[in-house]
Amino acid sequence: MTRPGRPSLHERRLHPHVLFDVSSLAPQVAAVRREEPRCAALPDAAIAAGFAALGARVRAGESEEELAVPAFALVREAARRAIGQRPFDGQVLAGLLLRQQRIIEMQTGEGKTLAAVLPASLAATAGRGVHVLTFNDYLARRDALWMGPVYARLGLRAAWIQEGSTPAERRDAYAADVTYLTAKEAGFDLLRDSLAMEEGDRVHRPFHFALVDEADSLLIDEARIPLVMAGEEAPGTHDARFWDGVAAALAPGEDFDTDEYRRNVFLTEAGVSKAEALSGTNHLYETRSLPSLVALQNALHARTLLARDVDYIVRGGRIELIDAQTGRVAERRRWPYGLQEAIEAKEDVAPSRRGRILAQTTLQGFFGRYPRLAGMTGTAVPSSEELFEFYGRDVAVVPTEKPCIREDLPDLLFTHREAKETLVLRAISDAHAAGRPVLVGTASVEASEALAARLLERGVACRTLNARNDAEEARIVAEAGAPGAVTVSTNMAGRGTDIRLGGSDEARRDDVVRVGGLLVLGMQRHDSRRIDDQLRGRAGRQGDPGATRFYLGLDDDLFVRFRLSGLLPQGVDLHRRDGPVEDPVVLREAARVQRIVEGQDFDARRMLSRYTTVVERQWLHLSEYRERVLRREEPPRLFREALPERHAATVAQWGARAVDEAERRALLRCLDRGWSDFLESVAYLRDSIHLMDLVGKDPLLEFNRTAAEGFSELQRDIRAAVVEVLATARIGPDGIDLGSAGLAAPASTWTYLVRDEHDGTGIADGLGSLAQAVAAPLWTVAAILKYLGKGKKGGKGGSGR
């Protein structure tokens, strides 16, 4: 085991929530090693029996911490016998840290999958299910199949869940000791369970311990996209195709414009007149025209801000969304609020049904349901502060088994796309000719295909890996390390992709090693350094040789969106040239853009977290009540109290049991329906709450206050709704007819892509009138300058673009 370089004092100060020195666990690692000869002598049956005995001791109240050493020793032996892999000391150390519920940083290829088996088995011995949350479905199945024999030797059962798994398969998998699945599946099962009408319909057991793979991605990057469960609703009255036609006739820049970060699109005054003329609407901006305006807005959004082969692909006559994080197609995911219909109109495919949100949670709220949570990833340290703030977990760095000899070459920055592409193509063909495998990371499906086409023109054989050909993923990745192989990929070849040098069987490994190993080229910087590092991490696994380099352009999407040009000092020479820019100022500022993006994303996630806390709590509160109703622990009383006569008559006719059951079902449905309405109302409130900033009120406080008032109102409404249903619905021997009361269960469910992005209007000073009183002259100067500054910026934004 090599010692990692001692982190500098600066590094320690920068990351107060990182445990750099894990030597305190060395005695335990040594103790596990000492147990090894004894375990090696045990017959197979004794290993399972010994492990079961440990489980009994945990159940009897012994702490897992004390049992970690004997347990890990048994797991190590089981792994050696079952799959022929003996967990290294580093993996044992990682297991110990995971057991302490930390987020561990472990380099690619160091064996996170096997390391996770150690704490997972120990936590599962007592009979409570453990979830290993993987990055994607493919890894869930692969890891469960791969590690299954190890668990079997220990007398435990491992199972996995895929997106297409049936409820019965899911229930069975959750009943296993260790379940491998994606966090999304687990989260959606939680949402589906929250809508169950019978106890037996649910699939989850009570949550116990989650081990999150690629933890930074799941706990941080994806935390921004809430899990939303939607059900079908009657189609809307407006015509998406008609409004798509109107939007198509409007000219960008003249009739409509986008905001600086290209997150919103809006009509200009000229555009409003034109749209009104085109659609024959007198006044678009009237309350009664709102549905038309929403449809037009969606059509504009679909045409302007969402691009085919970047945000989605069209396949088999359907729109399929591409997950921005994984680069994969996200099954059963849609855009909300009519945007999906607008895209379908734009791409001329058959419209799908409309939906409404039934239940929703954030990944952060979902992870909060686990009493124990640990995670592992190759890139945790840069986000340690955030991991601590949101999840209260420290990061620990596991030293690498073999030193990493990968060479990270300095970035090359170009003034324009063509220059960048020319040099990238040259670098690729040179490497290809030398027999060196190359992996190129591009931004989108479109970009990957364009680059591949240009490579083929030059006679360089290459394969593309993107959402469109995801079926061939395993085969493409297997051969990506073969001599001279060129693979052009999207984010799909980032996390969890294991590229072996010399092809899948490593037959020609030496040839590849001789020419320098895998060459990874990035075509742009991502929104965070961690994602860049993940792409880099595809090269140099387990001490392999390899090199990486990023090719950047001043016209890269990231630099344009966050206006790198505005950051550069005056007088920097930026005229087009064919070679890379070498000005250190430009390179430094380019690196800074990424830090700005990271900082803003952190702030946005913190905002999202603050805005969801109260609603999450309300959901928990409602769910606890619903749970009691579901388990028939809450005595039905609304019917008798509110409608004594009808209640008595119905009881006389069908018996008390049937009537109670009718009330229970009506109550459950009304709870779900009410919550769905509430969520919709909260979403609308969230849109407008930033206006509170204008009067110096804290938008968050106003939001929470309104949500709290709304929650009381919701309870009154639910009660009234139940009474109304019971007063009018037909109650027969088969129970209550909820369909006639408009409360039929949704026919199908899917998930929504909801991006929670709202910008505030400014930062409230917090001191307000006080600052005015104490520092009146200075304050005045500041206010005037700000006023003038805004006027100037507004002028600029209006004229040029």
Binding site: Y285, I596, Y625, Y684, H690, L694, K697, L700, L770, L785
Partner: protein
Amino acid sequence: MPGMIDTIKNAFKIPDLRRKLLLTLGLLVVFRIGCAVPVPGIDIAAFSRLVDSLGNIGNLFDAISGGALRQVSIFSMSITPYINASIIMQLLTVVIPSLERLQKEGEEGRKKIMQYVRYATIVLGLLEAGALWYGARSAQSGVLPEFLNAIVVIFSFTAGTTFIMWLGEQINEFGIGNGISLMIFAGIVSRGPAGANALIAYFQNWTLSYNVLVAVALILLVVLAFVAIIGGVIFVQLAERRITVQYAKRVVGRKMYGGQSTYLPIKVNMAGVIPIIFAMSIMTLPATIISFFFTSSTNPFIIWLKAATSQSVGYYVIYALMIFGFTFFYSMIQFNPVEVSNNLQKNGGFIPGYRPGRPTAEYISRVSNRLTWFNGIFLALVTLLPVVLGGVTKASGLWFGGTAVLILVGVAIDLVNQLESQMLMRHYKGFLD
């Protein structure tokens, strides 16, 4: 007001919040004790006379420092250097690109900027303490040679301010509310008893010079006016005009929970207290200059000016007009209808019946103008009523004027809001009960 007391009562029932509240109170007590610790080397009585000679401005600064200024306490400068430093830093972030970038970088950048503000506070503190010492040279006392005395005084003042800054940050982090506002709040409130004493003294005077009935009537008048001012200030401070707004991102659902639909609030008092302060500063300037340089001048112009700047009707009319003018000026630079309209448009919002862009901006501007007229009249009344009342009852210097009330009300509303938001997070009764 009763709602506020309930909020505080309920807050004390939650252990976590109780701890925060007690800690805050404890730190405020520390602050108040510090206000009574005098700086060595300056004669308190002589210094107090200097403050008096500054008139209303001196009174205001004394009020903001919680009486520490007149006491020549180590906290005399109050938190002024810190506030100045924050404003300067805000200005610099607009002007200096690298600071702007730092601010954009999120948490880490903001922490760095905070650190700069702290350093700047100390530098400004030294400068202001130097000025204070220079102004108070005539009140020097003690045995040290002058330059040593200067060092002692300047460093004591600066250390005091630095300590207050630290106290304020402790409250921000571990207590509740904005520490700096709360300390100033505590300072102003602590002068309540002194105000009551003054009132009693006046009552006795009036009883002697008129009779008991007149005295009671006058006291009632003062108290009523005071209550009316506070009530009015609270009302106007909270008042806002709500313009209904709709969003074109989604069709509104079946029901909006939690009260009215979405709206754009426009505050009545957008200008804050600054028009009053500026008008006051300008209007007291002649009197201050006269009292400093021309106390015994026989120049007819000075004598006329002296008369004109004290109790004449014309003086009050100009005072009122000035407040009015400043109200418009500050409302204009604080609230920009075009910017609000653009912001609304970019977020997909609109005011039903008005197209986005110019029509919306014009409408918002019309509404806010009307509010500013009202606000100007109100601010003038709040400022002048105590002065006029003082003239009528001959009870000048009674407690404080509208400015202090405005500050108090602002801080109190803030605190209650913070408490409420903390309680929203933890307080649920049974479901469907």
